[in-house]
């Protein structure tokens, strides 16, 4: 199933970005919440799906479903073509060399656990170090803590500063020949900070470390080219990319994946099984035991088509415009404090309001139809660093508009009114 390498395709949109038109592709945005139009500012938790994704999943389920890689009958072949076609779509989207490097998983969390258990665990020894940053999501902390318990290797954490930026000098200081693996977020989910991943990857490679990038929060905002980045592993989820839940991708350099033992055993990941000896399947199927999420892969491919139609660069620019606008307007609200003020941010604003707990903000905003995330964002160490239990987080996607920013500002005014 290996495909011919191709350069990343241009992503320049033909027309200026029209978020109002984009909105019409997302039926859920027509909903009202508590009698008010839905203002969805929680795409960093999960984005909504456009009609082409919903239709692709429906068409697959309606006309093409059977199990993959198993039957000679027409539907099994149709399903296999759809599933493997989706893999090729993903390969193009992130500009991987080969579909052998594209492993379908449930999501970013599973992708990271796969690398932890199939790459790190069999190799790492006491004295080896895994280096992460203070910005990581629990999914990029806990799997490494488990590997440390299992192998006796050590977890090192590069600190962040009060702006929520990685202190690069400290990170570089912690890098050493002992560093076996560096695992970093491309974009922080809690704060929106964009990390200088290219610089980090190059420095890590210079000391011989392998690099995993948690791309869950980056891939919806910017074109990703894994070859240009030079990372060894890149993990992301479908549902943050306007695709279905329960599907995600682990990209891994073929050489590394080939040397790794399988993670889970079962059907599809084998070539032959006997009670004496089992031979494992080739890449990528070696890592895909059991019947996969076929319709999820189909939906993810449709989401990638849709996003490239809009243009990832254009989406990113649109979101940055909203980020700038929202930041300027929120700055004027008395008692509002931004948590995370990095120079380079994705369209995520984490904040607190003096005298109003984030959960109360969440309830009041929901009452006004505005959906935001409140809590620790699965990044408790980040909250601990800032000495707060939680923040409110508004995040923007391709379908958000200036009206959504205005609705957020007005709902925050309502919160102040309620709390006095």
């Amino acid at each position: 199933m290996a495909a011919t390498p191709s350069p990343a395709r241009p992503m320049t949109p033909a027309t200026p970005f029209d978020a109002e038109r984009v909105r019409r592709d997302f039926p859920i945005l027509e909903r009202s919440i508590n009698g008010r139009p839905l203002v969805y500012l929680d795409s960093a938790a999960s984005s909504q799906r456009p009609l082409p994704v919903l239709r692709a999943v429906e068409a697959y389920e309606t006309h093409s479903h059977a199990n993959v890689h198993r039957g000679v009958h027409a539907l099994s072949q149709a399903a296999t073509e759809a599933f493997e076609g989706a893999r090729e779509r993903v390969r193009q989207f992130i500009n991987a060399r080969s579909t052998r490097e594209i492993i379908f998983v449930r999501g970013t969390t599973e992708a990271i656990n796969l690398v932890a258990q199939a790459y790190a665990r069999p190799r790492f020894k006491p004295g080896d170090e895994i280096l992460i940053t203070g910005l990581e999501h629990h999914a990029n902390i806990v799997p490494w803590q488990m590997v440390c318990e299992q192998t006796g290797c050590t977890l090192k954490v590069a600190p962040i500063d009060q702006r929520g930026e990685l202190i690069l000098d400290e990170f570089l200081r912690l890098l050493s020949p002992r560093t076996a693996l560096v695992a970093i977020a491309h974009v922080s989910n809690a704060l929106g900070t964009m990390l200088p991943v290219k610089r980090i990857i190059d420095s890590a490679h210079a000391v011989g470390a392998v690099v995993l990038v948690d791309g869950a929060q980056a891939i919806p905002h910017t074109p990703i080219d894994v070859r240009a980045l030079g990372c060894d592993f890149y993990a992301f989820s479908g549902h943050k990319l306007y695709g279905p839940t329960g599907i995600g991708v682990l990209y891994g350099r073929e050489q590394l994946l080939a040397a790794m033992p399988p993670w889970q055993g079962g059907g599809d990941m084998i070539l032959t099984v006997s009670f004496e000896k089992t031979t494992y399947n080739d890449l990528p199927w070696k890592f895909e035991a059991g019947t996969p999420n076929i319709s999820g892969a189909v939906g993810l491919a449709a989401a990638m088509d849709y996003l490239e139609g809009l243009g990832l660069t254009a989406i990113g620019a649109h979101e940055q415009k909203l980020l700038g606008l929202a930041t300027a307007q929120l700055e004027r609200i008395p008692g509002l404090k931004f948590v995370g003020t990095a120079a380079h941010k994705a369209a995520v604003i984490s904040f607190t309001m003096e005298g109003i707990h984030p959960h109360d903000l969440g309830t009041i905003l929901d009452h006004e139809g505005v959906a935001i995330r409140t809590g620790h964002h699965c990044a408790m160490p980040v909250m601990t660093f800032f000495g707060i239990p939680a923040t409110a987080r508004a995040s923007f996607g391709c379908y958000n508009t200036e009206k959504d920013v205005a609705a957020l500002v007005s709902a925050l005014g309502k919160a102040r009114e309620v709390f006095g």
Binding site: I356, H357, H359, T363, H367, G375, M380, P389
Partner: protein, 147 residues
């Protein structure tokens, strides 16, 4: 569903000026409560006189609902027996969760929390302090979770 049903004046007042706030040192019993969904934590400490709660305090950081609920709870349970506390919690729990039932009499200020029933996501905020109090009463020292 009106926000003012949830955030009544008495709740906002107890949130701004929580009563019996802090820790009793020494205490006969204390327990930590944790809501892992939001990360909120609170501690309830007790001084007992026989079967009666002689003094009670709570400590911690939380949302308005959890702070006000804990504050009002400490006022309501002071001087009460374990059995009376259990009865009171039963009434509070019904008031918080039973959509159609009338709020039972005898709740006093605690009746103000009944607006929570319209906001199911927030029921745990209001009950965390009660579970923590029960843990302290039953086990002397404990950690409880809303999950």
């Amino acid at each position: 569903m009106d926000l003012k049903d949830l955030y009544r004046d008495v709740i906002l007042d107890h949130n701004r000026n929580p009563r019996n706030f802090g820790r009793l040192e020494p205490a006969d019993a204390h327990a930590d409560g944790h809501n892992p969904l939001c990360g909120d934590r609170l501690t309830v400490s007790l001084r007992m006189k026989g079967d009666l709660i002689e003094d009670v305090r709570f400590d911690g950081k939380g949302c308005a609902i959890s702070t006000a609920s804990a504050s009002m709870m400490t006022e309501a349970v002071k001087g009460k027996s374990k059995r009376a506390v259990a009865e009171l919690f039963g009434k509070v729990h019904s008031a918080l969760t039973q959509q159609d039932a009338a709020v039972e009499p005898g709740l006093g200020k605690l009746a103000a929390l009944s607006g929570v029933r319209e906001f199911p996501a927030r029921v745990k905020c209001a009950t965390l302090c009660w579970h923590t109090l029960n843990a302290a009463l039953e086990r002397g020292t404990a950690t409880v979770s809303t999950e």
